[in-house]
Symmetry: C2
Subunit: 326 residues, 2 copies
């Protein structure tokens, strides 16, 4: 484990344990299949970054009630629901080293258990007694479903621009992380300035998080990643390392890259060749640099808060988005 | 058109037109595929019974604001979302005489557009500024997803009891209708007694509505129904007419019924034979009588309100659940 990761886990140990308890306590279905399928996705090594961010952002805004850990569950349930639906949509096979829920339980239960988790989120969130929270949650889930759809209809399209890519990852990934941070400030009844700062923090962290995730498809290996390397590409997902390299490539390299991308049954050698071209044209380093810039902007957003252990931990979490291997 | 239906349409004309406008105005996606897939399910001859019930129940409780029509959209969007997901789950082919959305757009967009409609519901509902509404909406959607799952895992099980059937239809169908009525009272800030009465009204109407729907699978024909007659049975849905007949049947008739139910590829003659047995053992009349009883209980619940045109219309809507052919 990296030093950064162990430091974060040490600093967040108590919060993470409390979040884990709440994740179990708040599921409350009456059907066993819901416990099983929801449990499969919820208790399979998730990093709990979203609920942790909510708890920390609320604390940074001097939250004084005792509902934060319970409330934080909303963001992990929403995340799990989107993973259940996305795995049905994407036809992926592995997640976190295990078969996806729809491969075990079938597509139909995966869809309905996702719906159940979304519903639980609404129920749990309603205990916070703030209507404005629902305005945010509504917007977040609108963004998530449309971002995922946007990605879906543009699968395999090599004319995807960097701008369009950024819009897709903002909606499908960053919005939920941003929402966890912003709503953390909201449940602490923080003033607008702090809400905006934590909203910015979450947005940039979320964008960096997804860029790093997209890089892992090219830079990790299957054992460490827990899903097939190259799986995104095989699903036709055109991500930033590729978009950048496509823009820079010579005509003959462009032709080779197109051929590999449009062949969903590409070989391991094809994939290695493609990775070589991404290196050649700077697609990897460009994405790394842009992600690092978003991490810097996330950390910058925290500077309106006085120094504290909570602020330090939030900074480390932002840094970790780039350091992670999984 | 029956006299009852034309009377209802006449009395509700203005409300239905306003609801239709709001259904269009509040969709607001940025992706065309969302407009298309959501439009396919939303504007294909739905009866708008849920939004109409909300508007009428609010009015019966002297609602004085001007947000009721917009708010009512929540219940049609939620309903459409559940239809989109259910059609993916059930593998049905026709709905209201048209191919199901997933057959046209694919399962993945159907799932995600359903998610989008649920999200829009949360956004629209948040404008009502009542947290208690979200407690209800959370419970409603939890019930709906679990009811649908319950039905799914018990498909083809001929040991389904009447009690279990009632529990499934309460969750998957009646809860949303009940919720529209109850929340209608809530947004009118009605006292508990009126909320409870309209909640009862909606529950019984909803139960009768689903029983009538289940009867149509045996008593209608494909042209009128807009979906294949016998489709429920082919999907393995064991409904009340069947449950009752199975309980009463002789050993040899029971054997024949089981054979037809468990053969998903049954012939038209098999289906006619089964219908004959449902008649013989009173499955149809039993279900009709029970549904009529629930309609009576729904109407009874309205008696705490003074007579009015709105109350009359709600009564007629309860009666219509039994009279409808589609």
């Amino acid at each position: 484990m990296s030093d950064l990761k162990s430091k974060i886990l040490e600093m967040a140990a108590e919060d993470l344990a409390a979040i884990e308890d709440e994740l179990k306590a708040n599921l409350t279905p009456y059907l066993d299949i819901v416990s099983e399928a929801a449990g499969h996705i919820l208790f399979s090594g998730g990093k709990r970054i979203r609920p942790l961010l909510l708890v920390l952002c609320a604390r940074l805004c001097s939250y004084s009630d005792n509902y934060d850990k319970t409330f934080s569950v909303v963001f992990e349930y929403m995340h799990a629901a989107s993973l259940l639906h996305d795995d049905v949509v994407d036809g992926a096979t592995l997640r976190r080293g295990k078969p996806v829920a729809n491969a075990i339980f079938g597509n139909a239960p995966a869809v309905l258990v996702g719906d159940y988790l979304l519903s639980r989120s609404v129920s749990i969130a309603s205990k916070a007694n703030q209507v404005e929270v629902f305005k945010e949650l509504g917007k977040i889930t609108e963004d998530m479903s449309q971002g995922e759809l946007h990605q879906l209809i543009r699968k395999g399209c090599i004319d995807l621009s960097e701008e369009e890519y950024m819009e897709v990852i903002r909606r499908k990934t960053a919005t939920l992380i941003q929402g966890a941070c912003r709503i953390g400030a909201m449940i602490a009844h923080a003033p607008d300035e702090k809400r905006a700062a934590l909203s910015d923090f979450g947005l940039h962290l979320g964008l960096a998080f997804q860029m790093a995730d997209d890089l892992l498809d090219y830079t990790s290996d299957t054992t460490v990643l827990g899903k097939e390397v190259g799986a995104d590409l095989r699903e036709g997902k055109v991500t930033l390392p590729l978009i950048h390299a496509l823009k820079k490539a010579s005509i003959s390299d462009l032709r080779q890259m197109k051929a590999i991308i449009q062949n969903t049954d590409f070989s391991l050698q094809d994939f290695e060749d493609l990775k070589g071209l991404l290196e050649t044209y700077g697609g990897i380093t460009y994405t790394q640099a842009l992600a690092a810039d978003h991490v810097a902007r996330a950390k910058e957003a925290l500077t309106i808060f006085s120094p504290s252990e909570t602020r330090d931990l939030l900074s480390l979490l932002a840094e970790y988005t780039l350091a992670r291997k999984v």
